[in-house]
Symmetry: C2
Subunit: 277 residues, 2 copies
Amino acid sequence: MSAQPLSDFSRLCVHTITTKPWSIEEATARYAAAGVPAVTVWRQWLERRNIAQVGRALRAAGIEVVSLCRGGFFPATDAVGRRAAIDDNLKAIDEAVELGAPLIVLVCGAVPGQPLEVSRAQIAEGIAAMVDRARQANVKLAVEPLHPMYADSRSAINTLRQANELCDRFDSPHVGVVVDVYHVWWDPDLQQQVERAGRAGRIFAFHVCDWRTPTEDLLNDRGLMGEGCIPLRQIRGWVQQSGFSGFIEVEVFSHRYWAMDQGEFLGKIKNAYLKHT
Amino acid sequence: MSAQPLSDFSRLCVHTITTKPWSIEEATARYAAAGVPAVTVWRQWLERRNIAQVGRALRAAGIEVVSLCRGGFFPATDAVGRRAAIDDNLKAIDEAVELGAPLIVLVCGAVPGQPLEVSRAQIAEGIAAMVDRARQANVKLAVEPLHPMYADSRSAINTLRQANELCDRFDSPHVGVVVDVYHVWWDPDLQQQVERAGRAGRIFAFHVCDWRTPTEDLLNDRGLMGEGCIPLRQIRGWVQQSGFSGFIEVEVFSHRYWAMDQGEFLGKIKNAYLKHT
């Protein structure tokens, strides 16, 4: 059953990368002025910043921090690289604590030419090396399966089923999944795997955008909701019926939208959120 | 277990679209001169031609026709469109007979915004409308699962598992699958589904190329074997251990290769075939 239309912005969250031209300070002011109640902060937005102060400024502006994006990228061809990746992920936990983010999104990683099964084992090892620290810090880790077109270099975890299987290995309340419609909409097993994730209480985040036809760039040609072919209401219905009631996060990478006035773009985001999500 | 390296060109097949600048007459002469023993002919190469004569010319040049590419594209939003698609596919069977091609590759189709499950039902109906004629003509039909990045507009069948399930519905010696490494290499179920297809005697074709990092175009940036991350020997091993001993078909869509001298490119294909496939 499809979800009912959204009638207000109480569950709207925007990713800082969606409005890429805005710094964290500008995003904070603009989101607040536009009545956007929540944000997912990408780590690049925290470079050369006092992270705790960014978190305070967001909360003072009435904006909730949904997650820190992104950890992961565990696979590497040598032990030094894998250790560096784990260290960087432990640092991300510290950053999440400073920022006041309860969740870290994991884009798990892949190395071109390294067998996917090797990368998958390294991903499991990487998460294993984070779980204790995450629990102590009370920061959750959300595995985001990425579209198979990113299996070469961004993630060897490409379906929600794989993400569920990975989480089963940890059986931890601190390890769950992200359902991002862009990555999983095509999957014939999607409904079943969303329900499985829901039963396990591990749907930690829900990301939306749309798939344009034609898609002209593998990375940065995502559409706003309603501009493409993703059955957004249907997938949101499955996610909600599986018990998820958290924020609906707008994550759009788009050269064409980054090139326009970002205030006008934010208006389009709000419109598309109510009308099509 | 990975396959042994190939030591000669006896199983090499080239798709006419791989050397797109060449007409069928030029391809016939050039492939023969280069010792390419087999071809898959794309239908566009037969426009304004006497198809039977093309087939005779290929055989006279010592070139075997492996398949006609491509039928399919069954889904449409109205009955007229779906009927037209079926008529075109029945015409493809006639063309295959004229050409002397024992097999038609089916790229099943999808309509942006039409639910994938609706498209999948229309695909099953379309194939059902072809099976009798295909059997009478002794032409096989091979369902090619396409990469999930084509789920919007090219195929609602995106995994080998889906293709196997579709074939199970027909349980016909004339309905099988294509394993194209570009589309399926990322799939964690690949080995299992190749074995399943092999047990059912339905691996009708095997297509190779490679996945480049970065891939700059969703359609026309395929790599030659060895230029990317696809475990070609491993997948060929699974396919062969599952009983397939047919041609290994080089299907490369590439703006960069189409722009170069095609004779030189054919040399590169032969080199990549022996060295990396």
